[in-house]
């Protein structure tokens, strides 16, 4: 190596080091906050699942005890974890298809050239940004014993004698209705973006071949939208498993345990419903968190794999 080449490479090294320092200085403000307030708690939560701690100074190694505790006498009708899992899955299975159907429906209606499309789009989207407590309390009111919804259903010949949120069978449907109503507009926007990507030639070709509207929908629109539907489903499933706030405001997990969700259970164990519990079980709460994390990561993994494999044309 010649002298000048050594010099250049040394210079390059210094430049690179300087460059790295500058890059770190860009990252630092966010990164420090991110590590302290997100990354460390995430790691801490994993460790805590194997600890026995009720918030005091005594913290002991518990091994798998917390997991044995939550899975003890596991049943979907009796044990807390079983009921929370069953309710969360039921809620997810009902909410995801209903939201997709509403979102897709809204998008299809708006995608055709209509006057005031922007206005309607804003109207359908608004429930998503409206403050949660306000809309939950309003829906509680609408779904009351003598509320507008029950009055209307009674006129149609149903016999509604209870408010939805105090009925063991209907309470979870109250949560589902509010969730669908609130989120449909959000996912509609994703479907509108998806519909923009369907080439017009496909419809023209279908028309040439004599396809009717329904055939165009099932043979062109739906298959072309599968990537959107796949993505929307994953997002919805994850957000459904995280459901808490609507439940906390509308039913507090009741009546009985009929709307108790996974996160509701985590909350009760660590904060005793609302406010701080007198005897917090942080270890057990973290063990339940790990169950939630496992489910969410599994769904994310499916998305990761599916994104590569998924094709438009079935």
């Amino acid at each position: 190596m010649t002298k000048s080449a050594v010099n250049t490479s040394r210079k390059m090294g210094r430049l690179e080091r300087h460059n790295t320092l500058v890059a770190y200085s860009f990252l630092a403000p966010n990164f420090i906050g991110f590590v302290v307030f997100t990354l460390i708690p995430v790691i801490f939560s994993v460790v805590l699942a194997f600890m026995d701690w009720s918030g005091g100074s005594k913290i002991t190694w518990a091994g798998l005890d917390n997991f044995f505790y939550i899975f003890k006498d596991f049943s979907f009708t009796k044990s807390n974890l079983g009921i929370a899992l069953k309710n969360t899955v039921f809620y997810t299975v009902a909410t995801v298809p209903l939201t997709i159907a509403c979102a897709l429906g809204l998008a299809l209606v708006l995608n055709k050239a209509v006057k005031g499309a922007k206005f309607f789009r804003a109207v359908f989207f608004f429930p998503y940004v409206a403050s949660l407590v306000a809309i939950c309390v309003c829906w509680n009111f609408l779904l009351m014993k003598n509320g507008p919804v029950n009055q209307m259903l009674n006129l149609l010949g149903f016999n509604m004698t209870k408010s939805w949120t105090s009925s063991r069978d209907l309470a979870i449907w109250a949560i589902i209705i509010v969730s669908v109503w609130r989120n449909a507009g959000y996912y509609m926007v994703m479907y509108l973006a998806g519909l923009q990507g369907v080439p017009a030639e496909l419809y023209e070709a279908a028309t040439m071949d004599g396809a009717n509207g329904w055939q165009k929908f099932t043979k062109v629109t739906l298959p072309m939208l599968t990537p959107t539907t796949f993505f929307v489903s994953i997002m919805l499933i994850i957000s459904c498993f995280k459901i808490y706030d609507v439940v906390a405001i509308m039913t507090q997990g009741g009546p009985g345990r009929s709307t108790k969700m996974l996160v509701t259970y985590i909350f009760e164990l660590s904060f005793g419903g609302e406010g701080i519990a007198t005897s917090a079980q942080y270890g057990v709460a973290s063990a339940v968190s790990m169950v939630l994390l496992a489910i969410v990561l599994l769904v994310t993994f499916v998305q990761f794999r599916g994104e590569k494999k998924w094709v438009n044309y079935m």
């Binding site: 860009f26 990252l27 608004f126 403050s131 309003c138 997002m235």
Partner: protein, 285 residues
């Protein structure tokens, strides 16, 4: 002649019928989307007895505007509003500042460990907050931030999502621009401030609105962290109001309506950014 002009010919009766049906459907959907809000307005102007009248009335017989004055006396609603506004503004500002800064390093610079660090960021977006809220709470309490808005500021100012959103946008800005500026002798900070940031206005607007609305509407965070009444935010304050005056549904509705007014105004003027933001990033705040 193009296809569009052919289509503009006189409509057949069938086409007319379809387009009429479409608007009827749209109006019905609008009603479903807006009915709770209309009911809120209507109930907020009734007396606490008339609210439960059977059969229901959509238009109150008498308008009780005084409900909107009473709510401010029953609970410290003004304090809730102020707290929420302060929190939302600080969080939004911090979020924009730190995210747009960090995203520059990820999108426009080469350094050791860049991809690994970015994977860490993406990885935590996948972890639900509900999983680590407990350790986070324990940590905040041990450093004495419990029952202050600073706990919430710390919680929400450094989200990985903000960095991700800004990085995605920066990636779309051609590298030639920053390369040219580098040759002209501009420092990396200069490039960030003078070239990238001005071009990233739409992304900043999107992040700004999302953060503001999310912070305004956040229920779980303030519920866990704030116990002193006068420090509460509007969402938990409203919840307290509901529990304390559960019989006065007219007042509850009036207070609820007030709580969503600021967000409604922001949405009305900036909804374009919301919708474009979701459509382009496809991510949830």
């Amino acid at each position: 002649m193009t296809a569009a002009t052919i289509n503009r010919g006189p409509k057949t009766a069938g086409q007319m019928l379809i387009s009429v049906l479409k608007y009827v459907l749209l109006l019905m959907l609008t009603v479903v989307a807006l009915v709770p809000f209309v009911w809120m307005v209507s109930s907020s102007l009734k007396t606490s007895v008339d609210v439960f009248s059977i059969p229901m009335k959509w238009i109150p017989e008498e308008f009780h505007w005084e409900n909107y004055l009473q709510i401010w006396e029953r609970v410290p609603l003004m304090a809730y509003f102020k707290n929420t506004a302060v929190l939302a503004v600080i969080v939004t500002f911090m979020q924009i500042l730190t995210s747009s800064f960090a995203a520059y390093a990820f999108a426009k610079m080469n350094f050791k460990g860049r991809d690994f660090l970015f994977m860490c960021y993406i990885g935590t977006i996948a972890v639900p907050w509900q999983v680590y809220m407990v350790p986070q709470f324990i940590m905040m309490r041990s450093v004495g931030l419990y029952d202050t808005i600073w706990a919430l500021v710390a919680l929400q100012s450094f989200s990985a999502f903000g960095v991700f959103l800004m990085r995605q946008f920066y990636m779309g800005i051609p590298n030639d621009l920053s390369e040219a500026a580098r040759i002209d002798g501009l420092s990396e900070y200069g490039i960030w401030a003078r070239i990238i940031l001005p071009l990233a206005k739409p992304a900043i607007a999107t992040l700004c609105i999302f953060t503001f609305v999310n912070t305004w509407n956040d229920y779980m965070g303030p519920m866990i962290y704030l116990t002193t009444d006068l420090r509460k935010t509007i969402q938990v304050g409203l919840r307290r109001f509901i529990q304390a005056y559960s019989a006065d549904y007219n007042l509850i509705m009036a207070a609820s309506l007030c709580s969503l007014l600021p967000v409604a105004v922001v949405f009305l003027f900036l909804q374009r950014y919301f919708i474009e933001g979701i459509a382009t990033t496809g991510m949830k705040g």
